[in-house]
Symmetry: C2
Subunit: 362 residues, 2 copies
């Protein structure tokens, strides 16, 4: 079992990573004094598969609970769903001391965190991420958001969870594509911040893809720890430090948006986006060719895409110009100087970004 503390003064919390975290966290939830009623937000498939584990643990803690099932679509992450959930929480009982449990992937985590942040001006919530991607990314750092029809993530809050329970045993049911989505973000941590993690990923691919629990615990803990340290230094993305977590993401968002959020999932888009950012680093002469190839090879070796197919180039270029990072005409990209060393560069010529994307079609 690995425990990683996120140090944010009175908002500090633990990330607990192990094979069997949920079952093993009987005392932890009670000790945290979150409340006497767990309002668990999840999908039916997750409840059917793992609901019992959570139920048992909550009962042992003497905590009453309710499962709120939401549809398994991107639309679930909308302000309208958030309001319907709050209406249901109001009905659930005013005299209970309610806390929320985000029991699912990133969509559930983002929605639950946002609801917790605005219900009664903030109630406690915990993250119980059920995907590899959510375990290493969305569940940590309190960046919550929901969508408006025409604007993704436009409504949200910085609101930290009180506990993150990352249970590796939940990952056994993920398919290869879902695993790869998480691995793309893990590779990202290696490239931007952690050569040891990068080398571990290169040397233990078979083990990792076979879901060896020791190997998974290592890469999840390593990734969570990197994210925790960055969040501690720049909780609200005000100092530019948290920006490096966006490595590959400017391109990725354009690719996701340009393909109507259908062709590529987030991890796959991030994989291609990272290759673009690596290419850009190389063309701007800050990353040598050998390292560019080494990183690209690692990404490809995990079965992640490095080329764009089945999307029109112009559909990808349009959202690129509308990216938040280009507000006020400043173009900012996260690049790498070396494996494990990211840098932020401003005033990158847009035509270069355009050429790099075009090259991904070849």
């Amino acid at each position: 079992m690995k425990i990683i503390k996120v140090n944010l003064k009175e908002k500090s919390y633990d990330i607990i990573i192990s094979d069997g975290t949920i079952t093993g966290s009987a005392g932890i939830i009670k000790k945290s004094g979150l409340g006497n009623y767990a309002y668990i937000i999840t999908h039916r498939s997750i409840k059917d598969r793992y609901g019992r584990l959570l139920e048992k643990t909550l009962k042992k803690n003497g905590i009453d609970f309710k499962f709120k099932l939401l549809p398994e679509t991107e639309k679930t992450k909308s302000i309208h769903t958030a309001i319907r959930v709050i209406e249901d929480i109001v009905k659930t009982g005013k005299s209970k001391k309610i806390f929320l449990v985000a029991f699912g992937g990133g969509v559930i985590g983002d929605l639950t965190g946002f609801v917790a942040s605005i219900y009664k001006r903030g109630i406690p919530y915990i993250q119980v991420p059920t995907t590899l991607l959510a375990q290493v990314d969305a569940s940590i750092g309190g960046k919550t958001a929901v969508d408006l029809k025409e604007a993704k993530n436009i409504i949200g809050a910085f609101y930290q969870p009180r506990l993150v329970l990352s249970d590796i045993s939940l990952l056994q049911s993920l398919d290869a594509r879902q695993m790869r989505a998480g691995l793309a973000e893990i590779i990202k941590y290696g490239i931007i911040k952690d050569k040891i993690l990068f080398d571990f990923l290169a040397q233990n691919r078979k083990n990792i893809l076979a879901k060896n629990k020791k190997a998974l615990e290592f890469i999840i803990a390593r990734s969570s720890s990197i994210k925790a340290r960055i969040v501690e230094k720049d909780e609200k993305e005000e100092k530019g430090l948290r920006t490096i977590l966006n490595f590959g993401h400017t391109f990725a968002h354009a690719i996701e948006s340009g393909s109507g959020y259908r062709k590529y999932n987030h991890g796959e888009a991030v994989a291609i986006g990272m290759v673009c950012a690596l290419e850009m680093s190389h063309r701007l002469k800050i990353l040598d060719k050998h390292k560019l190839e080494k990183a690209t090879t690692l990404i490809r070796s995990y079965g992640l895409p490095i080329k764009i197919k089945g999307v029109a180039l112009k559909d990808i270029l349009t959202p690129l110009y509308y990216d938040k990072k280009f507000i006020g005409k400043r173009t900012r990209f996260v690049l790498v100087k070396d494996i494990g060393r990211a840098v932020t560069k401003e005033n990158i010529p847009i035509p270069l970004a355009r050429r790099i994307i075009a090259d991904r079609f070849k």
Copy 2:
């Protein structure tokens, strides 16, 4: 001109109180670096009367702007209005550096602060309160909220403004009832925390009711300062210190709710609520009869109600039991030991509260 600083580390801000604050604050807004586009949320009547003042000042600051007019009803303070406003902000322009201006009373202030807190995970906003009540209460302290259909203030956030511009000249158009609503809260500050303010209110009633600007500046500054000091010590109502601001409010909410938010405005309900809380303090033998009468006399002398009329007793008692302060069956009331000295008392017998309300009908 009085400047009161609210010290909240990186979230600190100034409250500027004077006759002509808006006109005089030309440089201040620009210096604050809030953005280059002011999205002003207000009502038509306020824009018609005072919009020009704000326009002129913003133009002098080189800040572009837009007025968003919302209906002058309690319904404006709903989550649905908040979403519609955000949809409009999205349309207003993604490349502008937008900040919000709450230009109105408490409803506008609460809604605007909430919208600012959740749009893009928080953008800056300033308060330009146009009622006496908003100047001394809602505009300070960052307690924002909107309503769901069946639950008032159930959705919200603690989110501080970047500046509060309290312009006394705007109060000239308020009618006597609106003035009294603010005066009820000002009297509250005197009773719970400030004997000097209390005595000033007792000795300068005529001047105050005649809207003498010096007198208004004194009582607004004094009240704002009390609220600022309490907010500094307990920004998020976690330490119980901010609770004393709720003096009279448990009763007031029951009275407002029981009368369907029609018969009494907030200030009037607070006036009756304060008399109830004073009575309770006396019956629990912590406040002597002379001081009870002195405080009650002051409230009545300002034309505020001290008795309940035209509402059914049972309609007031029901909401009392549902008040947030009774969660977990703990009854907590803010009481006074002396003029200027509030205390919080727990485990007050509910039948006592019931008898005190019943006596207000006599």
